[in-house]
Symmetry: C2
Subunit: 696 residues, 2 copies
């Protein structure tokens, strides 16, 4: 213990002083008074009453639950955070029962809590796998117990040496006819299951993907449901090696694990037999039906990523915009800012560079939310069609969802980080609420299909569709945007943008045609390289990525304009429609600016038009300025969700930072132990020296 005979356990408190006038809340009140539209009306249009009412009901419950307290995570170690997340998982089961939460309520609770936890993969992957893959007997044995949390599971696919290439997995499951068992085995170190969420310390069961071997023949990866730990004492069973894969850049609160098998025997019933089957004894393999139906699930999961990205980025935008309205920096000598007739430093939201950075992100959030909503609609439409045996929508929807997942997560992580930077120095404090958000969103660019790999799927479909359109085999239909823009393009492949003033850009048709042209042009260039120049697939991967991005940009821009056009006057009154229309234009022009080269390189636009696009973007930004704070208020994110000193609704940023700081563990004692060991020796040597010198 440190200390020189005084009480060391005295927390540090700030003096009771006010911040330099005007306060943050004064600024935000003034901003809100400037809005030209009704915030609640926009929230309602974007999210719907049902969602908003659920949030309103749930937030006070979570705020009063210690297991759901969100700010302590900023101070905790990895191990404390994991333990707290376990507590949340258990409490969640109890609360769900008490308040009769349905699946949508539970989803919202998890969005608000905003952190993975040890049971996450049990719910997100293990249970859905069992639901889809169990036969009747297995349903009772595994699925029913899993939903009561009597067995806790994980989904063990990825291996140390294999991620995206599922066909290359090394773990084997060899059928042993004599005992009607499977022998699970990890032949190499690289065969170890790896990255498996909820596995390291939590799960007692695992859905394992392993190569099925029967009578020496390799049938490729198949799913097994396998007990890995004792139900009595949680010890790994003999033949199973399991543990944690160590610290990560984010996802601190989940126990990603590894799993190896040493000739580990499991009974016949472990083979999940809803689709393929293996006859006991003979080991005869009965093939599954068409697996394409499972593409639907991927579409839903990607639609959820797009939607979730909208929410995550809304968080970044909310924090950045509100704090920019509060944070003042420099007196702009040309246009000094006054408050009650006194010159104050200019709030950073008044600098055009700051506006340029953060307003485009606000527009992007709206774009993502509308596209997420649209994709979920399409998913349901497609499910219905498939039930009627119609697979006509599937290919486009699947390809588009791949491209969108890639583009949206790339855009989101970049914009989210820019929101953090736009908060200046305090953005680096965890109390901004944006640090963990960044770390926990980040894996999305890699998993659920690596963002670069995914674009190959999209491009393959686009090339195929192009060929169909050219050969007259593809008919335009309202749900297939690809055919629409390709058909349009082929009518006039040397078109140019018919715009000579900035104002003419503010036209959905003009903008959509430009995005369609760009996408189609990229596809033709790719076709040219592959078909006529004999280039290999590998050699054109860079262009493949560009084509997928162009296609996805078209889709998002389209969905934004379409959402506004399709809204009735009751759904969207004039003032709200106007501000959202401005957002849509800003988003489209922002996306054009980001990829201006693509538009210029096809000669669809001229350098003069490129300059118009830049100027018009700045015009829109100036128009948005008075509505900026209200536009993020309309995202309706409660302070509980934000857990941010900088982004709180009332704007009292600095008072809040001080409150957070007083809770810092280092501030609970006066002197830390390290003082005695590492500082004092030098200091005391100095005191001794001074004493000796004064004696001389």
């Amino acid at each position: 213990m440190a200390g020189g005979g005084f009480d060391n356990n005295v927390p540090t408190k700030f003096p009771k002083l006010s911040v330099k006038w005007p306060k943050g809340s004064d600024h935000l009140k003034a901003e809100r008074a400037k809005a030209t539209f009704n915030v609640d009306a926009v929230s309602k249009f974007v999210f719907g009453d049902d969602y908003l009412n659920r949030v309103k009901k749930i937030v006070p419950i979570l705020e009063s639950e210690p297991a759901f307290e969100k700010t302590q995570r900023y101070y905790q170690s990895r191990y404390q955070r994991i333990a707290h997340a376990y507590e949340k998982d258990k409490r969640m089961v109890e609360l769900a029962e008490e308040f009769k939460w349905d699946d949508e309520d539970k989803r919202i609770v998890n969005v608000l809590y905003d952190q993975v936890s040890p049971y996450s993969l049990h719910y997100l992957m293990f249970i859905p796998t069992l639901r889809n893959q169990c036969n009747e007997e297995q349903r009772e044995l595994f699925y029913e117990r899993a939903i009561r949390n009597e067995i806790i599971g994980c989904y063990a696919q990825t291996e140390l040496g294999h991620g995206s290439n599922v066909q290359g997995l090394e773990t084997t499951a060899t059928y042993i006819p004599e005992t009607n068992e499977f022998e699970l085995h990890s032949p190499h170190l690289t065969s170890s299951k790896w990255w498996i969420g909820s596995l390291a310390k939590t799960a007692n069961h695992a859905a394992v993907m392993a190569r099925l071997i029967i009578h020496g023949k390799d049938y490729g990866p198949h799913p097994f449901c396998v007990q890995i730990r004792s139900m009595e004492d949680h010890r790994p069973l003999s033949g199973v090696t399991v543990g944690d894969i160590g610290p990560k850049f984010g996802y601190v609160t989940i126990d990603n694990g590894f799993l190896m098998f040493d000739h580990y025997r499991v009974p016949h019933i472990s083979f999940l037999a809803k689709f393929a089957q293996i006859k006991p004894g003979s080991g005869e393999y009965v093939k599954p039906a068409n697996a394409r139906l499972s593409y639907g699930t991927m579409v839903l999961s990607r639609a959820n990523i797009v939607n979730g990205s909208g929410t995550t980025l809304a968080r970044g935008a909310t924090v950045a915009v509100r704090y920019s309205a509060v944070r003042r920096q420099f007196v702009d000598s040309n246009e000094p800012r006054k408050w009650n007739n006194q010159v104050i430093e200019t709030p950073v939201i008044d600098y055009t560079m700051q506006q340029y950075r953060i307003f485009s992100t606000v527009a992007t959030v709206y774009a993502l939310l509308f596209t997420g909503r649209k994709m979920i609609q399409l998913y349901h439409l497609n499910q219905k069609e498939m039930e009627n045996g119609n697979l006509g929508l599937l290919a486009d929807l699947h390809a588009t969802s791949s491209g969108l997942k890639s583009l949206v997560s790339t855009i989101t992580i970049e914009a989210l980080e820019d929101c953090r930077r736009a908060c200046g120095g305090h953005g680096f404090s965890l109390f901004s609420g944006l640090g963990y958000a960044y770390q926990d969103y980040l894996p999305l660019v890699t998993f659920e299909g690596d963002n670069y790999l995914l674009t190959q799927q999209t491009a393959r479909y686009l090339l195929k569709t192009y060929r169909s359109v050219v050969s007259g085999k593809a008919e335009p239909n309202e749900h297939n945007l690809t055919i629409t823009y390709l058909t349009e393009y082929l009518k006039s492949p040397t078109a140019a943008m018919p715009v000579s003033t900035g104002a003419e850009l503010l036209n959905p048709e003009i903008l959509l045609t430009a995005f369609g042209y760009r996408a189609a042009y990229g596809i033709t260039q790719l076709i040219e390289q592959i078909d006529n120049q004999g280039r290999s697939w590998n050699s054109v991967l860079v262009d493949i990525n560009r084509v997928s991005r162009s296609h996805s940009a078209y889709v998002i821009v389209h969905n934004f304009f379409a959402a506004l056009q399709q809204a009735s006057k009751t759904e969207l009154a004039v003032p709200e429609r106007k501000v959202l229309q401005t957002m849509a234009y800003l988003f489209a022009l922002h996306m054009m600016e980001k990829d201006m080269t693509e538009f210029l390189i096809s000669d669809y636009i001229t350098s003069t038009q490129a300059k118009l696009i830049r100027e018009q973007t700045l015009e829109l930004i100036a128009q948005i300025r008075p509505n900026a704070v209200s536009l993020v208020d309309a995202f309706a994110l409660p302070d509980y969700y934000l857990a941010s000193a900088l982004g709180r609704y009332d704007g009292d940023v600095y008072e809040s930072l001080v409150d957070f700081v007083e809770k810092e563990p280092l501030n609970q004692t006066i002197v830390i132990d390290s003082y005695e060991k590492y500082i004092k020796p030098f200091v005391y040597a100095g005191l001794k020296r001074q004493k000796n010198e004064s004696k001389l």
Copy 2:
């Protein structure tokens, strides 16, 4: 404690298995055999013998010192990491004495250790401030004791409400003639010093920037050296409130603090009086001489940032390239990869998209290292000139260093993160060695001049220089690149790039002219807006940022080509020159690609030429492929520095990951406490249910 009567303290061990053949080290050996140049010769050219020899001497020392052990930080909590960093600081003093390390040795030790620590700001800011600002008496009282660590200090400038705008600081230091003292005071909550490194728990002194008030007159911010804690027991002195500002996104190992004064009196000698002086009693203020000389220090600090960025990014590139040569993914069915006549999955380094992402970063590292070297040379040249009373170099050097700091740190953080992503899933593990590197580099885009703010300084200088060149008042000289390219541009402002084949692009003169044209064109456009269209400074901030970026890109490209052209044949033999020349071309074309819009919008290049640039980039990348691993080997980063499972020199990546994982604290026991509290109740309910059901 968890456990059901068994010994729970059993570490998890992996079975002794090999990885799937071929091993990582087999891959890297094969890669190294392909190199067309001598790795050591390139290292020597880039870093010089002296540096390389020092590293060779120092690394084994650090490797054997527990205080310098680098991998345990991946598992430690914030508090453990801080304590370990204190230990390093103390041990460093002892080792420096033992091995007679000079300043350059110590700098290298800190580069290799690669983590800020509680004493960092004492050395980096407190001591230099005292060196520059103390008069003779203060030198003995403060500086001499500081270098013996008898007093430990920090540099307290930034406040809760004020970062970049130093003139707006709120803390006051009022001269009290009666007692010949100063009274330090924090009038508002926002006046609290904030973000001050080494302050929270370490420092007993602070160099405080406070507004000097004498007889009611405000002289603006001045530096004071102030004792804040007792030398006896380290308690904050009465009138001082001090503590930690809480957890951050990175910089975990330093105690950034806050500091408030409540009418706190300090003696007259606290006012650092090398420049301005205050006469005791009368309080007469004696003005300092020209402060422009201090710009030299800023140049050096920014040159060090550029150099340091090269090293940090070299780390990213080394890890990404080596691991890409080891990591295999999919069999490319068009061009199946064989090893000893057997088909293996293709190493990801063979996919063009991966090459495109990481090889351009390798080239960027070389570019940053050469520009860093050049800036340090210019700094010394300028210091010499200034000593002779010649300020002719200062303005350009200062403006360029601002722009470079902004561009280089923006590029570095983006490319570093892309290196991490290029490692796929395992890039998200802290064992990649890139997570902390990212978190600790990140503040650089905000501090030492926010990257957006800084570009205004550069642009101001560029506009001024343009006006001088136009009016014939600026003469070209070899050290002023700005005047050179502006003069060039003004000779033919409607020039176009004289290139019709990809090969013609491989010409330093062609490329430099293009970069110069782009920069100059941007400046003229800005001048047009401000001078002729009457636009305010605030309204053109976006273009200001573009202009600074264009200028800085020109400088970096110039320095790369110049470094090669100026090298003699002994310094750089043909094979090494050739590979570095290819790197220089790739860097230049990569920078053109990144900002292609800027080149297109000025009509200096056509869309056809833009396509040539893209194609030629891919050509260069293909040429580099056989040398990729050797090009990162030439960065000469020891495994100690990398602390990375993925980037180690021998390539045995998976074996290394497994070693790291075995040390994970969660793997030292079989069952964690949370099992009892949060999992077992559900599981046991299930067991009970089963028992009851079997009884029925």
